[in-house]
């Protein structure tokens, strides 16, 4: 077994609200390997975002460690680029400047920087919008810029926090297909958070179902091992969605997630 | 060190340095900057013995009385007119341009004209204070009514509300936070104006007291006046904040 790229080692996170201690994540252990696309799926508010933020270095665990290539993560950095749900584009910068932003802190000369930016603009289909401002763009375009910005810094790991949740259903489908295409062009280790079961199955190599709060692993489903449509990424989303294999997988995963939701509701 | 402790430490250090450099070590002449102890002493002195014609409390009450009366008249007239202008189109079209014309003239610039019209007395001061407090109340009430969420009005109409109902039951309540903000602005404007008015032409009041104290070279009393004005201003503003919380419990409050 090769060394894991990202390692969650007995990670817990607690928040204090007044006098109460609210656990968000409890004793989470997981290894993510190089060039793997891992998806966390679970009910809303279960703590999956918290896990991503810890991997990003934006939050520190209350106990346990998150490791990147064996070294503990203590602060955010471009080796773990994040794509946020709210896009987080700098509104006063153009598309070009936004994508270039991350390169500012790297040692590249101007020409290399320009080439990188232009390459990613082309890759994301943003040609013609280089000088537009974020407020002039649609949601889908904004997220493309965010993704381009994250790719441009050549991160070791890509962290995507429900990136398509704020988009309408049609745009979301297209973005999902495109993400798969980019993934083929530039392979990265990816941690992807979603609450959509279909999205998880379509995109991921491994799907990790998270329990309701505090977040624990309910089950890990290895799509490679189960032989699920290995060529699914070359097909369109609707082809995949209408296959029988998909239907049974979906039922299974949704069943797992749903039980967590009804648990939560029952305990209210 | 926690930020709260830092703040407290900062206040203490400043007070100590201030006291030391003025009264004890005499680094700064007393004529220039009064020491805190001097201010406190003079506070008690002027409470008992009259200065510039009246005790400290009497001056304070004179100012307060003027401000509050002018302020109340201004708020009533301003808010009413603002609501009218916001609600009735034709009225708005006629009055608004005239208002826009007069508005840029700072209230204090009206003082000479007010004195010509009303003489050097209470009336001219009340007029100028009224003017300064009138404007923010009017504007905010106007905007508050004009910017009523269309969806709320539509919802009310679905349930049968007519013109007057809409004004009273939808626009005014939803505009209340803005109206109260306007009232707060009116108060701070009124305070500012009375100080200027009293500095220029008065025979009593905090501003007058400060002006006389300057002539008699008693800066501690000037400082006393300033502190009184500042503290009263803060207290009244806080009072309005509390009123707003009571009247508009549905609003998430932002600290000023």
């Amino acid at each position: 077994m090769p060394e894991p790229k990202i390692q969650f080692e007995n990670v817990s996170k607690n928040y204090t609200r007044g006098n109460m201690v609210v656990p968000a994540v409890a004793e989470f252990n997981l290894s993510i390997y190089e060039n793997e696309f891992v998806v966390f799926v679970g009910p809303s508010g279960c703590g999956k975002s918290t896990l991503l933020h810890m991997a990003a270095g934006l939050i520190s665990p209350s106990s346990g460690t998150v490791l990147l290539d064996g070294r503990a993560i203590t602060e955010p950095g471009p080796d773990r680029a994040v794509v946020f749900q709210q896009f987080a584009l700098f509104p006063w910068k153009t598309v070009y400047e936004n994508i270039k932003f991350g390169l500012r802190f790297k040692t590249l000369d101007e020409i290399e920087k320009r080439n990188t930016v232009e390459k990613h603009i082309a890759m994301m289909g943003l040609n013609g919008f280089e000088n537009s401002y974020p407020h002039e763009l649609s949601g889908g375009m904004k997220q493309r810029v965010a993704i381009a910005r994250a790719y441009a810094v050549h991160p070791a790991v890509l962290l995507l926090d429900e990136p398509f949740a704020a988009l309408d259903a049609q745009t979301r489908t297209i973005m999902q297909e495109e993400l798969v295409v980019f993934g083929e062009e530039e392979r990265h280790t990816v941690l992807f958070i979603t609450h959509s079961v279909e999205e998880a199955i379509f995109l991921g190599d491994r799907v990790v179902v998270i329990t309701r709060r505090p977040a624990r692993i309910k089950e890990v489903i290895d799509l490679k091992d189960s032989g699920f449509m290995p060529d699914r990424r070359e097909r369109s989303l609707d082809e995949v969605l209408s296959s029988e294999q998909f239907a049974s997988l979906r039922t299974k995963v949704w069943g797992l997630v749903r039980s967590e939701i009804s648990n939560e509701r029952g305990n209210r | 060190m926690s930020t709260r402790n830092l703040s407290i430490l900062s206040i203490i250090v400043i007070l100590v340095v201030w006291e030391l450099s003025t009264s004890i070590l005499n680094l700064i002449p007393a004529l220039f900057l009064p020491s805190p102890s001097r201010i406190v002493l003079d506070f008690f002195r002027t409470m008992i013995t009259p200065f510039a014609g009246a005790t400290f409390i009497e001056h304070l009450l004179t100012s307060l009385y003027l401000v509050v009366s002018a302020f109340i008249i201004a708020v009533i007239t301003g808010v009413t007119l603002g609501i009218f202008m916001g609600w009735y189109e034709t009225f708005d079209r006629i009055v608004y341009p005239i208002f826009q014309l007069i508005r840029p003239i700072p209230p204090l610039a009206w003082i000479p004209l007010a004195i010509v019209w009303f003489g050097i007395g209470v009336a001219s001061k009340v007029f100028v204070i009224w003017l300064s407090a009138f404007v923010p109340s009017l504007i905010n009430a106007y905007i508050g009514i004009k910017m009523t969420d269309r969806t709320l009005i539509e919802a009310a109409r679905v349930y049968g509300a007519k013109d007057r109902d809409l004004l009273w039951h939808v626009s005014i309540p939803s505009g209340l936070p803005l109206i109260l903000t306007g009232i707060r602005l009116s108060l701070s404007n009124a305070w500012m104006t009375i100080v200027a008015a009293e500095l220029l032409a008065a025979s009593a009041g905090l501003g007058y007291m400060m002006q006389i104290a300057r002539r008699t070279l008693e800066p501690s009393i000037i400082a006393l006046g300033m502190l009184a004005i500042g503290i009263l201003g803060t207290l009244m503003t806080r009072g309005l904040f509390i009123l707003e919380k009571k009247l508009c419990p549905w609003r998430e409050q932002q600290t000023s």
């Binding site: 270095g57 934006l58 955010p76 950095g77 471009p78 994040v82 946020f84 709210q86 987080a88 700098f90 509104p91 910068k93 932003f101 991350g102 500012r104 802190f105 401002y133 407020h135 910005r149 | 930020t3 709260r4 900062s10 206040i11 004529l31 220039f32 079209r93 608004y96 341009p97 005239i98 014309l101 007069i102 508005r103 840029p104 003239i105 700072p106 204090l108 610039a109 009206w110 003082i111 000479p112 004209l113 004195i115 010509v116 500012m192 100080v195 200027a196 500095l199 220029l200 104290a213 300057r214 070279l217 800066p219 000037i222 400082a223 300033m226 004005i229 500042g230 201003g233 803060t234 503003t237």
Partner: protein
């Protein structure tokens, strides 16, 4: 179309009413000079001095004072406010003093200003500067303090640290807010200028300045100059506000409506 005409009609009607009342002789011209006399006196002041200088002289004197105060006040308020917004500790040290002083209206400082700087330019600039200072500082601090946290997170994940975040995220974000505060300060400062001039200038020889002008006009019972002066003060203040507003909108162009 109709709306634009309505403005002109209503203002025209107002001026007409004014003229009618003053022409009828019901009110003495000392109380209500006719619109005509106001305009004539203003025009005359361009060629002949009133209250020691011409109209341009008064305007220029006031603007000069305002400009000096503006530069000093914003030069201190904006960096200090930004620093206070950025650094909690600095804020904790400076804020208590600021909170006490900030509720004292700028004009209340006049007696001290005169005591410290004697009547004249410095004391006036001091008052104006205080007026401009407070809203500028408050907005600078708030702008830097309340930057959208997601943007800061995004910058961090792309490799920005400490000072980088201040310069590349916090400052661009808060620029329109800061200018908004300066704009409010300018309105306040302009008011203070008028008051400060009214209080201190007339007793000095060479009473140039718009506030001084209307005060002198009052003492000499020349009402048309009072009203004329008021109009000029209003117009200039309005122009400054429009300028500042334009600047604010331009800097905040990237903000969606």
């Amino acid at each position: 179309m109709k709306v634009k005409y309505a403005s002109f009609i209503s203002i025209g009607g107002f001026i007409l009413l004014w003229w009618l009342i003053s022409a009828s002789g019901m009110i003495s011209p000392r109380f209500l000079p006719s619109p005509g006399s106001v305009i004539i006196s203003l025009y005359g002041m361009i060629w002949e001095p009133f209250a020691s200088v011409t109209l341009q002289g008064h305007i220029w004197a006031s603007i000069q004072r305002f400009f000096v105060a503006f530069v000093v006040a914003t030069g201190i308020a904006i960096p200090l406010g930004a620093w206070m917004g950025w650094n909690e500790k600095v804020n904790a040290v400076v804020d208590p003093v600021f909170e006490v002083l900030r509720f004292i209206p700028p004009i209340a400082w006049v007696p001290f200003a005169i005591l410290w700087f004697r009547l004249g330019l410095k004391s006036e600039c001091f008052i104006i500067a205080i007026g401009i200072f407070v809203p500028s500082l408050v907005n600078s601090r708030a702008g830097i303090r309340f930057v959208d946290p997601v943007l800061i997170q995004a910058a961090k994940t792309l490799g920005a640290k400490g000072r980088d975040i201040l310069w590349h995220v916090s400052i661009p974000w808060s620029l329109p807010i800061i200018v908004g505060g300066v704009r409010i300060g300018m309105g306040l400062g302009w008011m203070c200028l008028v008051a400060a001039e009214m209080i201190s200038r007339p007793t000095l020889k060479g009473s140039a300045g718009l506030g001084a002008m209307i005060e002198v006009a009052r003492v000499t019972l020349a009402s048309q100059y009072i009203i004329g002066g008021m109009l000029v003060i209003g117009v200039l203040g309005f122009a400054m506000d429009i300028g500042a507003n334009y600047f604010e909108k331009k800097l905040g162009r990237w903000r969606e409506a």
